[in-house]
Symmetry: C2
Subunit: 334 residues, 2 copies
């Protein structure tokens, strides 16, 4: 098994460059916590403190830096994106029955599903309300729409579990909605907040969409080939839960008729499909390889979308993120 890991914040992007601004993000997240009713504060604080990678805030900050300078608005945008992301994680963990995330107990493991449903809702509505601070209806609308996309992507994913008619086109639609939308919103709105024109905003939006999509493909590969001890969350759950991810869709595509029937039966019986089973299928390696190739091609395209930013260390950092993710993807090849 590859020793692939979930990247730490320091590895994924040039942390030193954005450290001061990411600290402002952390400070602002802590301030948001204090904006809740005192009875609710500890729950929100717990969820906010289980340190994530803060990729979405980092994107907002780096785009801001590359587009003329990081402002308080870029920090706020990052906070909003991160709060929406946290809200969806709280609800995802309920849906997946997950007990651990980032090495610590999930909200549902600590306080049960009821409180966690409401906690996610509170984070969600707080984030969307915070977006009104921008005094721009257009920004509020784009933040709201990205949140809608995430929810809708999650619904389609849930609804299509164990559905063997699920196509690759649908897979890309789902991951674009559930993961791409927030990355895209973070990068696109950061450009807008810097006063860039609509064309530039759209290119940066595309950068975020491609990066987010590639990141989700990486995450889906990791679920198959990663090491649980290193990644810090339960792996090999996608197939148990009937989630047909890109490597599995590739596998189904390249498998022989007899193999496909065997795989279909296991999926429909909701039998865990562990590595030994998959390794017995000739094209397993090819299926992961092909998913990695797809993600790498997207990352290459995403770099072109950075053109409107011109040259700067911030723009370089946005390239570097794609290179680093590319490196992680390479490690998923056996």
């Amino acid at each position: 098994m590859a020793s692939t890991t979930t990247p730490s914040r320091d590895e994924l992007f040039p942390f030193e460059l954005v450290r001061p601004q990411l600290e402002r993000v952390e400070t602002s997240i802590r301030e948001q916590v204090r904006g809740f009713d005192p009875a609710i504060e500890p729950y929100v604080a717990y969820v906010c403190n289980t340190s994530g990678k803060r990729i979405r805030p980092a994107l907002a900050i780096l785009v801001g830096g590359a587009a003329g300078g990081v402002t308080g608005d870029h920090v706020k945008l990052g906070v909003i994106m991160e709060l929406i992301h946290m809200a969806t994680l709280v609800h995802d963990d309920i849906i997946d029955g997950a007990n651990t995330r980032r090495m610590v107990p999930t909200a549902n493991a600590k306080w049960g599903n009821s409180l966690s449903v409401l906690l996610g809702d509170a984070l969600f509505s707080h984030a969307l309300t915070l977006a009104t601070d921008f005094d721009s209806i257009d920004i509020c609308r784009k933040v709201g729409n990205s949140a809608r996309e995430v929810c809708q992507g999650e619904i389609i994913q849930t609804q299509r579990r164990f559905d063997l008619t699920f196509t690759k086109a649908e897979y890309f639609q789902v991951i674009g909605m559930k993961t791409g939308a927030l990355f895209a919103c973070a990068a696109g709105l950061a450009a807008k907040l810097s006063g860039m024109d609509e064309a530039a905003e759209a290119r940066l939006y595309d950068y975020g969409m491609k990066l987010g999509t590639a990141y989700q493909i990486y995450d889906d590969c990791l679920d198959l080939v990663g090491s649980e001890e290193v990644v810090g969350k339960t792996l090999r759950t996608d197939l148990v839960k009937g989630k047909l991810t890109l490597p599995i869709l590739n596998l189904l595509e390249t498998a022989s008729e007899a193999q496909r029937i065997k795989l279909n039966k296991r999926i429909l019986d909701q039998e865990p499909l562990d590595l030994p089973v998959l390794l017995g299928i000739a094209e397993y390696e090819g299926a992961v390889e092909s998913a990695v190739d797809t993600a790498l091609a997207m990352l290459a395209e995403s770099r072109d979308d950075l053109a409107p930013l011109g040259k700067s260390e911030y723009a370089d950092a946005l390239v570097q993120i794609t290179r680093f993710l590319g490196g992680l993807l390479e490690k998923c090849r056996r």
Copy 2:
């Protein structure tokens, strides 16, 4: 047992007066459904079609009518308030494990908790995004804040289940947040959309807050004294779930030491406290009576808050709602 029922829409307010506008609300809700991804439409349609009383839209419309005329903006405000309300019901039903609402299966009974968590999220984010149509940051902020209040009220309620230190002051805070906030937002923002000044908006907000609070007290009394066949949902659940409502808080206040110990033990053991048990306690009737009196006093106050609207059939209808709710509350007395 009193034959108290959940009021039908026709009973609660002068339906004829608002029929055309409430039909516009229904049409607009159906249009919203079509705004979702086709894969999600049927789920949203199901939740939207299980016809509610549409009290919140009716408030927006009546205030609009009384303040100079109902516009498309009042209809839109009504739709937004109703979508937020529906989102919270979908999540409430998960939390309460409810199988039936308004005589039909709940979303969680039909499709399970996972899909219902996400369905509520999608409705929620759709409603908050729809608020951006007003092109007013202030309105977006107020809609967002009312949604936040609802979520926070629900969290505190969940968190304080089976907590015998829960006070009446806290009860009023919780129901003001979880039920009052949306009523208040509907009435207050309707006044604002009609161009009324801030003072008038605040009075109408107060009207909605008091009406919503009285409505929740009625609902809490109904859970104790209503007839399940007539109300169309599972009753007598509050105590089983450890929800300390106003009649129960009154009961705990007036019970003798021996009775209180007995009640406390049942609550903490999470034993169902059915009517026969409650009837064995001397002050049970007084506890419901007192809750009814509290709600009636609030309704009387709410009528004063209608002063800025002057005289009209719409303003009369807003009074009539409080009278009708008062009548239902009277029926809760044994």
